[in-house]
């Protein structure tokens, strides 16, 4: 009897010991939390499916393989009404990426110029930059996009009296038409050559770094890099028979046909996104430069560096560390803001999703898919920027 009692006492002591164990409690709390989240998610999904079934609304992603049946105006991959919804959505994603990438590059360049101008000793330049930043960043982006779209569609001339802004480059209320080289298999190889040339230039740069570290003298010069980047594709072009056929836009019955074209919606998107985001980038660049202590500039001056050298070799490398993280946010913003294209008829992923949703009626699947796509694009961009941030961060010894 006595032995039995002590045994059960021992058991209860162990149970209470475990219950009071800090690690156990911490794990238990996490298990309960994860369980609750999973349960809630399961409840939402199963309830949704039940309700959809009860209302006889079809579910599933089978619609992606069905024939889309609608045309897309700006396309950078081949897509037509004969393709599936999946293909149409892919074309929409490509449109999102194209407008985002172009805007990111332009906004970064323009924003950096404005940001540096804000710090200019020239009163007029500094105030002009300030006015630009404060004016543009305080107007909602949607209004700006609609404004640019209206400006282009209402003020630009009809296709038959299109403005010729450069030889064979026409601007009208249908957008921009420009000549392209006539299609030839050689061009694919030329692009490949360009890629090889760029990779070659990177290798030359690395080799130069190594030689400089070893001998203190830097071999190679700008012509060497240019020879690699330009020379390789030109060589490929010459070997391929040097095709020179040009496909220029000509006035057809309705508008300019042939060559390449950029629609008014895409133009308005690029202009709107670039101007709007460049104001934020300008502020980021300005604050980044100001975050570098003035002593650094003075030290550079004391070493006899020119103003340009001080900026390029001393200030900017240090400013970049401050600039990159908030810059990442701006790049993500551009990508997400491109979804405002729906308002002006630029057929990016949100716009195509809307059309798909309306033609198939599968709202939940379509919206979920779009959210996954935006999340993936944003996370990839984030990953790239974080990697770059890691590359340039202060190396501590």
């Amino acid at each position: 009897m006595a032995g039995k009692t002590s045994q059960s006492e021992g058991a209860s002591r162990t149970v209470s010991d475990v219950l009071h164990n800090e690690t156990f409690r911490a794990i238990l709390a996490q298990v309960i939390l994860v369980g609750a989240v999973v349960l809630a998610a399961w409840y939402l999904v199963s309830n949704t499916l039940d309700n959809l079934a009860a209302r006889q609304i079809s579910t599933g992603f089978g619609y992606l393989t069905k024939n889309a049946g609608f045309e897309i105006s700006d396309k950078f991959i081949s897509v037509s009404a004969a393709n599936s919804y999946g293909r149409a959505l892919l074309a929409g994603l490509v449109n999102t990426l194209v407008v985002s990438l172009i805007s990111i590059v332009l906004a970064s360049l323009f924003g950096t110029i404005v940001g540096i101008s804000r710090l200019s000793k020239n009163w007029l330049v500094a105030k002009l930059a300030l006015t630009y930043v404060e004016g543009v960043r305080n107007i909602p982006l949607l209004l700006q996009l609609i404004f640019w779209w209206k400006v282009i569609t209402a003020i630009a001339p009809q296709p038959r009296d299109a403005l010729q802004i450069l030889p064979e480059v026409f601007f009208s209320n249908r957008g921009l038409n420009f000549p392209l080289m006539s299609p030839d298999p050689v061009w694919g190889w030329v692009w490949l050559g360009l890629l090889v040339g760029i990779i070659g230039a990177v290798f030359i740069w690395r080799w130069a770094n190594k030689v400089q570290a070893r001998t203190g003298k830097r071999p190679g010069s700008i012509p060497l890099y240019l020879a690699s980047i330009i020379g390789v594709p030109v060589l490929v072009w010459l070997v391929g028979g040097a095709p020179t056929g040009v496909d220029a836009p000509v006035l057809g019955r309705f508008s300019l046909t042939g060559g390449g074209s950029v629609s008014t919606a895409l133009l308005a998107m690029i202009v709107g996104l670039t101007f709007y985001t460049s104001t934020f980038i300008a502020e980021i660049v300005r604050s980044g430069i100001q975050a570098v202590s003035h002593g650094q500039t003075e030290a550079g001056d004391a070493l006899g560096l020119s103003r340009r050298q001080v900026l390029r070799l001393v200030v900017l490398p240090q400013a970049l560390r401050v600039i990159i993280p908030p810059m990442t946010s701006q790049y993500l913003n551009i990508t997400k803001n491109s979804s405002l294209g729906v308002a002006i008829g630029y057929q990016e992923i949100a716009s195509i999703t809307n059309t798909t949703l309306n033609q198939t009626g599968q709202a939940i699947e379509a919206i979920a898919l779009m959210m996954v796509v935006y999340l993936s694009v944003s996370l990839t961009l984030s990953l790239l920027m974080n990697w770059y941030n890691h590359q340039i961060k202060l190396v501590e010894r």
């Binding site: 609608f70 809307n354 309306n358």
Partner: protein
Amino acid sequence: MKKFGLAVLAASAMAIGAGAAHAGTTLDAIKSRGSLKCGVSTGLAGFSIADSQGKWTGIDVDYCRALATAIFGDASKVEFSPLTAQQRFTALQSGEIDVLSRNTTWTITRDASLGLEFAGVNFYDGQGFLVKKSLGVESAKQLDGATVCIQPGTTTELNLADYFRANNMSFKPFVAETDNVAAEALQAGSCDVYTTDRSGLAATRASQLANPADYVILPEVISKEPLGPVVRRGDDDFFTIAKWTMYALLETEEFGINSKNVDEMAKSTNPGIQRLLGVTDQIGSKVLGVDDKWVYNIIKQVGNYGEMYERDIVPIGLDKRGVNDLWTKGGLMYAPPIR
């Protein structure tokens, strides 16, 4: 972004299972609310358009008034929600509105896979093309290479692509969210052609374009577009009322009963008219579950289908009834007997 909001709202409403629309409850919800929620277009003359005082007119609006009269005996108990083409089905699925009366084409996909059903046809339409006369285009077959204004997410968007493919022609779409934007783009020359239902083109030409005489509707009709009211599945009683409200509008026109002579007609000894107007047989309360005077009220307050056509559609320039005339006059409008 509005429609994302709506779609997300609908998705979350479905996820949480808000009882906005459970089996058999649509009619109960309408009655306890005291008004009918009707989804209409954002502005299409002849079908549904609001004037400067916010008063809605049009044949789709009149149908909703007739339906409200059948349920409440009062044509004013309707709330109108303007919806774009892309918002309309989600709004109906989620219970935001009770009936969608928004120049919506009846197709098998919409009828069978969206959890909705069509309650009839209040206008037989077909898709056409509107172009500037100055282009010198006489047939849709000459439109190869044109930029075409379309509203995204419509059947016309799909018919257009089909038609151009079938005729080996190419086009560039110009996506316009609303009829307004499309009209503006056509006027500014951002697109060469505007395509939608021919009634819509007539309405746009009459009410949105500065010089209607400068534009021409091409002769080709490239599709069948039967437009009609849509309700959500799950409440058969409400569906039946919605369906027979449409038939009552046609049946009364066939009997020659209109808003001006309805009081006189109520005294008629014709058994068919007596039955229709609820003098005998009590079809309203015994069969349909509404007031016996439902047809009388509809005609008294809204008018029959012919009157609606006269009032709403004729002013936009479609003075010939054509296929929208009664079957007795060579049209397609035919109601099963109300007895």
